[in-house]
Amino acid sequence: MSERKPDLQLTADVLVIGGGPAGTWAAITAVSKGSKVVLVDKGYCGTSGATAPSGTGVWYINPDKQQREEAKQSRYGLGGQLADNRWMDRVLDRTYENMNKLGEFGYPFPLDELGNPYKRGLQGPEYMKLMRRLVLKAGVRILDHSPALELLADDHGVGGAHGYNLHTGETWSVQAGAVIIATGGCAFLSKALGCNVLTGDGYLLAAEAGAELSGMEFSNAYAISPTFSSVTKTAYYRYASFYYEDGTAVEGAGSQRGRSIIARNLLQGRQVYASLDQAPEDIHPLLRVNQTNFFLPFDRLGIDPFKDKFPVTLRLEGTVRGTGGIHIVDETCATKVPGLYAAGDAATRELICGGFTGGGSHNAAWAMSSGSFAGEGAAVYAATLGDSSSTRSLKGLSSSTLTRGASDAKPNKTEERVRAVQDEVAPYDRNLFRTSKGLNESLSTLDHIWQDIRNETISLDAHSVKKREAAAMTATARWMYNTALERTETRGMHKREDFPQQDASQQYRLISGGLDKVWVKKEEVAKEAVLH
């Protein structure tokens, strides 16, 4: 962004981009370490992101040796042994601490039979309403409806961001000693619950600054949902039977491992139906209370999901319930770029769940833990800069030129591009069941889209946000598929039709990056990381 000064100019020690669980924990933690903090959100901090409309089970495990050991083992094998024992310990500790704090801050936990708060889950609307309150109480300035469009940097590293306010039509800039990216994952506008604000923006911002990504092959999470609904809550499908239209059972279909069978049927044009007919009747009322949003679509359409058969589909959640994201280089969740930190779904979650989904408990634990690690790290880093930050001459890093002048592309071109990217990442026979041929074909299309985007000048109006989203989704898809090509085996959620077995010699992580030219490299899992 050049020419004229932004309409709103702010300074802070720490700028947090994204106000979901990770961003809000980052903000309050940075304040507690003495930082002045600004938080910007594309939507509204408190309702936006994957947690707010949904709610999450949380990896809250008592600090009991055996319980912790079992917890760590639970996904270690499923994740292809790519998790890190030390990080699992840290996250379990910090999650335990933060969940207890939430109780003190006033989250209304239910009570167990002994009258102790039961802390294995959080209701999204309640949790995020509380987090917003805590952020405001801490004195953080929140800019809602204010997506970040590019990072600002100089030779010393990242020092702020530029963006646009969708409500006021004003541009903003925040100059800060350190920046935390907490923009969530990328679900490619699939309308999975709460996910349409999650378009991989943070990955692009980070990569434009020179940061790297990790585990981008673990980016093909698909969630079961009724065909007529956005509610991708999947836990209750453990009680489901799956049927064909004629009422015969779909053998082997299931919620956890049997999703592939559902996908293969859908691919062949055979609609699959579900019914929660295996849920014992005495728990029906309990299920209804635990996930009110799960029942909402059924209630509105007069369907009894415990008896009736309803058509289901698999909605892409990409990296949201996958595990890939920005590569983290130390315990403060720093990226390799000075001044730049990443937390939550924006960061890789391989450290705690390898290549297996982070949904169900790990991602929520990671969001609150990594948020506070990054908040601390960024606060300390900003403090070391002292006053020098005010004299920096920062430049915007967007890979497409952002300008105040008129745009050269028509807005409908963006929609076209988004659809073209979706056509490569949504189909099960591209992204869920991967082959070298399919990935290569997709990449040649995606590379073209990227070039197209790259050559365009983006003028700063409401459309600029969608244009940058399209760029971020395109870049994300390219990192995903280049990495998926490189991993010639099946591990965690990454399934190669042409390499259906796990290959012991590929027990490493894959780091990726680059914009015009995407690269992928191997990184060994440290010996100390291995869980025995």
Binding site: Y44, H167, L193, N293, L296, L301
Partner: protein, 109 residues
């Protein structure tokens, strides 16, 4: 998708305009908000939860518009149904606190 802002119920507090994560509504000077970018609606139901007078209806279908009328929604008792279940609003207890939360886990352990 968001389908209805009830003219008879809405008190023009503009909370829905503020809380919608995907910026679907536009404020209207001296009037009730309009659904300005319906296809951007991600069907998250958050606006319903924040509307203090249950004036909004979000249909579960994220892809198609059903054209339900306000009367239909009223007759089916769907206005405010979700907010009630979540336990938000005066005199209600948040569902987060409900004993069943724990009981389910105890029963299914």
């Amino acid at each position: 998708m968001i389908e209805i802002v009830s003219e008879s119920k809405c008190i023009s507090c503009n909370l829905c305009v503020s809380v919608c994560p995907t910026n679907v509504f536009d404020k209207v000077e001296g009037g009730i908000p309009v659904i300005a970018r319906q296809s951007d609606c991600q069907t998250c139901f958050m606006c319903e939860l924040y509307c203090p007078v249950d004036a909004l209806y979000v249909d579960p279908n994220p892809e198609q518009i059903t054209l339900k009328s306000e009367e239909d929604v009223e007759n089916l008792g769907l206005f405010g149904g979700y907010r009630e279940k979540v336990g938000w609003g005066k005199g209600r207890t948040p569902v987060a606190k409900h004993d069943y939360m724990y009981q389910l886990s105890a029963k299914t352990r």
